[in-house]
Symmetry: C2
Subunit: 595 residues, 2 copies
């Protein structure tokens, strides 16, 4: 390709951060002229950005082809019916862009294409001999995110690689899944990411097993845990084992204590310590049973309250709650909700109320009158608690799970804390944050069943196909490479992903410099490098700053030292500078670029 002149390249570097910049990648990609905002979560790719995107796509294509995946491309505009058949038309709620055509037909902008791939394979394939099959696409997707943020890190229009595997049986699915997992490892290695593979929730996707590839980053919205023994999971996927039953036969009957004003756990612990001291040790927040109430809205609009009981030293983790309830959504109980439910006394909610004949359920065992009640797995049969008495200024102590109250079930949505034991016994958990870059699912037969994808098996009988689905955020990957490699001066691309290999900075106005710079650019281009010649009529200082901001991996300065027959080679990532003789420059630069 020919040498690009910076004076002609469609790029303007900006001195100002974008107004809504919260992530470094967003700041630098915008200021360096890679992307430009069109609407919330909707961006244009400028020439530099598009080149990086193409390089990321090429890596993904190579690794997908290497596992035998075949590329196709579906439309983004999709008819409602298939998504209706699997329930996702409604399950996606407001995250789905819906529209009607001129005839009133319902369409959506595809957020992911399980339905369409299932139908395509159903359309063309009919025998076990056709399987296994893996198809993929790199395609523009749409999600009407409530909170688009950080530029292309979390957009509403974005580019994904999504692939789908089709197998006759579970063993085949496991193979396809493992092949994808290995391809993802190679892709993320080549992108240079510091990443973890964690157990994940399947969410709206459905299916059994799934793992996420998270790039470790403080800017991440996902929290994950790791143990020294190798356990790793998205916090939403951490499953606390249910507590084993303990013997509570010696626990005295529940009794009420007066706790005026003790509407917080700390205050309750303090009162308990004073009026009902324990014989074994001081009271602790973990001895209290906190009850948090939410209004839960189903996708069809039905609403009902849900009370969640959990040890008082933990909060409900709202993302874990969201994942556990999806596609239903939970919102905090507001004053109007409390007014409509006088049996729930704010600050004093508990599973029972004491009467002369003993405890009477207020929560749980949902009948017409009682409120649905789910508890943390730590609230096991026989466990003893202090909790609200459903009357202002009163709590109950010696409240025994299974004796005095019966929850409707377990819900594992309490926050995960550093130091908690890993569910598999592999040691204490540590917490970190990451950005979801990839997600692989063993979908199983959910979509194939809903849409009737069957093939004839070896015995000539119809068998439902089992599927996997596998995604990578492609535009997000561009942002995360930027995020992981940038510094206080701007972007610093790894060589395999940089928009150009090298910039020649013409740092002076003399004709000899201009000629030398042009000759160098031409020679490097002939050697197969992608070369920019910064020939602009601005000061060398501006050129140096722009070259750092844009993040060319290598800069070659043709300036005053040319009089001595030398040029300077600068390495963006390390900051190293090296003076080389002009006649050796091409060799040195090619070596630097090619590594």
């Amino acid at each position: 390709m020919s040498v690009i002149r910076m004076s002609e390249l469609f790029v303007r570097t900006l001195r100002q951060d974008p107004a809504d910049a919260e992530a470094s990648s967003h700041r630098w990609l915008t200021r360096a002229g890679y992307i430009r905002r069109v609407a919330p979560g909707v961006y244009s790719w400028l020439p530099l950005g598009l080149r990086v995107l193409a390089k990321v796509e090429a890596i993904i294509r190579q690794e997908m082809e290497a596992i035998g995946a075949q590329e196709v491309r579906f439309p983004a505009l999709l008819p409602r019916e298939p998504y209706e058949a699997t329930g996702r038309w409604s399950d996606y709620g407001p995250n789905l862009f819906r529209l009607q055509d001129r005839k009133g037909g319902d369409y959506l902008l595809g957020p992911t294409h399980e339905e369409m791939f299932t139908l395509l394979v159903k359309d063309l394939y009919s025998s076990y001999k056709d399987l296994p099959l893996t198809l993929y696409q790199i395609q523009t997707k749409y999600r009407d995110e409530a909170r688009p943020r950080a530029g292309i890190l979390r957009g509403r229009e974005f580019i994904m690689k999504d692939s789908y595997s089709f197998d006759l049986d579970q063993a085949g699915l496991r193979d396809s899944y493992q092949r994808h997992r290995q391809a993802y490892v190679r892709i993320f290695d080549r992108l240079g990411f510091d990443y973890v593979v964690v157990q994940a929730m399947s969410g709206a996707m459905g299916g059994s097993a799934s793992e996420e590839f998270l790039v470790v980053s403080e800017a991440g919205e996902d929290s994950f845990v790791r143990s020294p023994g190798g356990y790793a999971a998205n916090v939403e996927a951490v499953r606390v084992p249910p507590a084993e039953a303990v013997d509570a036969s010696q626990v005295p009957p529940a009794s009420a204590i007066l706790t005026p004003g003790a509407a917080t756990i700390d205050a309750l612990v303090e009162v308990c310590q004073r009026v009902a001291p324990r014989s074994d040790r001081p009271w602790d927040g973990a001895d209290t049973l906190k009850n948090v109430v939410f209004q839960v809205t189903e996708p069809d609009g039905r609403r009902q309250p849900l009370v969640i009981g959990l040890p008082g030293d933990r909060e409900v983790d709202l993302k874990r709650l969201e994942a556990a309830l999806a596609p239903a959504e939970a919102t905090a109980f507001d004053e109007a909700d409390f007014a409509a439910h006088p049996e729930l006394v704010k600050g004093y909610i508990g599973p029972v109320r004491l009467t002369e004949t003993g405890p009477v359920a207020v929560l749980g065992q949902t009948g017409t009158a009682r409120v649905r009640y789910l508890v943390d797995p730590r609230v096991g049969p026989g466990s003893v608690w202090a909790s609200g008495a459903n009357q202002a200024d009163q709590h109950l102590v010696d409240l025994v799970a299974g004796r005095d109250f019966e929850p409707d079930g377990l819900i594992d949505v309490a926050e995960v804390k550093a130091g908690d034991p890993a569910p598999d016994g592999s040691g204490p958990l540590s917490l970190a944050r990451g950005v979801e870059m990839g997600h692989i699912f063993q979908l199983g037969r959910k979509y194939a069943e809903a849409l009737g994808l069957k093939v004839l098996d070896r015995d000539g009988k119809l068998a439902t196909v089992t599927m996997g689905s596998y995604g990578i955020g492609v535009s997000r990957a561009v942002a995360m490479v930027a995020e992981a490699t940038c510094d206080e001066h701007g972007l610093a691309w790894p060589r395999e992903l940089a928009p150009y290999d090298v910039v020649i900075v013409l740092a002076g106005k003399e004709e000899a410099m201009r000629q030398a710079a042009q000759a160098l650019a031409d020679q490097l281009s002939e050697a197969g490098l992608e070369v920019v010649l910064d020939d602009r009529a601005v000061s060398p200082g501006v050129k140096f700053a722009d070259s750092e901001l844009i993040g060319f991996p290598t800069s070659v300065v043709v300036g005053r030292s040319l009089a001595d027959g030398s040029v300077e080679i600068r390495d963006r990532a390390s900051g190293q500078r090296q003076s080389v003789r002009l006649e050796q420059a091409v060799g040195s630069i090619v070596e630097a670029v090619r590594g």
Copy 2:
């Protein structure tokens, strides 16, 4: 790349035409497994189709880069505001896919991106020194066509290359336009099209000059004309010069004749010939003034009737009418419309009614009572006509334009006929049909003015930029290459665009054949060819048929003749077959492929 096994390639050839097939390309692309329908005008690309698409895109990219155009990519999901500013939010009418996001914000799916490119350049550029600039994208576009048809030939989701030029002045715009025109000539030459470049209407796009690149095809929806002297235009763009004034001072006053039942031109000519014979020659349809009435609906919903007067030997060309009135739309006057306008007597409409004091206008000179009246350019001042009398069973003769009636203006929407003189005097026109593959526009300052794109000129004053816009239907190009090259057996791709260079047809079950076929495939692949090995467990006949249907340019048959040490090379386009010695096969095939 590695050899692809037909047994693993995601393709199924179909024996049945798609239900709605009207174009050969649609039939063969579907039956050969290149595309698959998802919804009306919405298609998926299967692996074979995607490979052809990529090759077409590569040619376009090369030629766009060669004229210095820089690639960017805009979103498809676009906010309403810029399209509101230029009027296209409403002008596009029902052709635009509109939707709302979760917050009720209005969005559209981009049909073309003039507004967005204008805003981008406004955003980043500010000086004449930044110009000229040409940007382009290859991107998915949306139009809610009333009649999507012929598969990907006219889709509702489709791929376009659109580019935009930005210049300071008209001379710059002309240069940019000419460079694009030449790039288009190179692109369409490389795609192998039989095409014409014709003058075109700008339509909803606005702007002054524009030309279309039409691929000559009976399946085309566009009609165009050519003259021996080099005139070429879309029929919508043909401009008939207004007739010069003639002296009508000797023409007697208009008089009424009784014409019961003569509601057609033929019947009228017959009556005139009988009751009011001409002295010079027999009556002809071209001597009568036919008046056709339409109901015209503006984009804002306002409706009013329009009468068009034209020589009786011509019809109104509805596509020319649509182009002339856009963005307003015309529909035929129905019975209810006639009932609401008793002054318009069906079959006897004319510009005037005779009273004792002479002709009184019924049409034209639109006041509160009269109906808007436009006439064909052939209806010049002083021309003499027979026309309706606005009373049942009566016509007027000796009706003189400019004396007896005054139209509101001219409208050039009569059908163009073979043999009509070219407007530029270059000889008689011939008519043909074509498919619009490209359209280039000198937009001028319409968008820059509406959106405020100005730069500082050489004198430090703000000057509005002048723009061009240039489109190529990329997915349509795939269809048209298929359309132009297919035959009764299926597709027959030109070598530069074929999904694979060669298929090795294993035509037998012997192990020696299998080994020879595999070795040949490997050697061709090593020589840089894209190779498919048809290793399926089906008969040679099925393989031959599929290879012709899919349109591999070269097939190599490894079958019984292998016993004699030879294989057969078949050329898809010419049908030629050639037997070659196995040891010379690779050389022969590479030569055949590389030409």
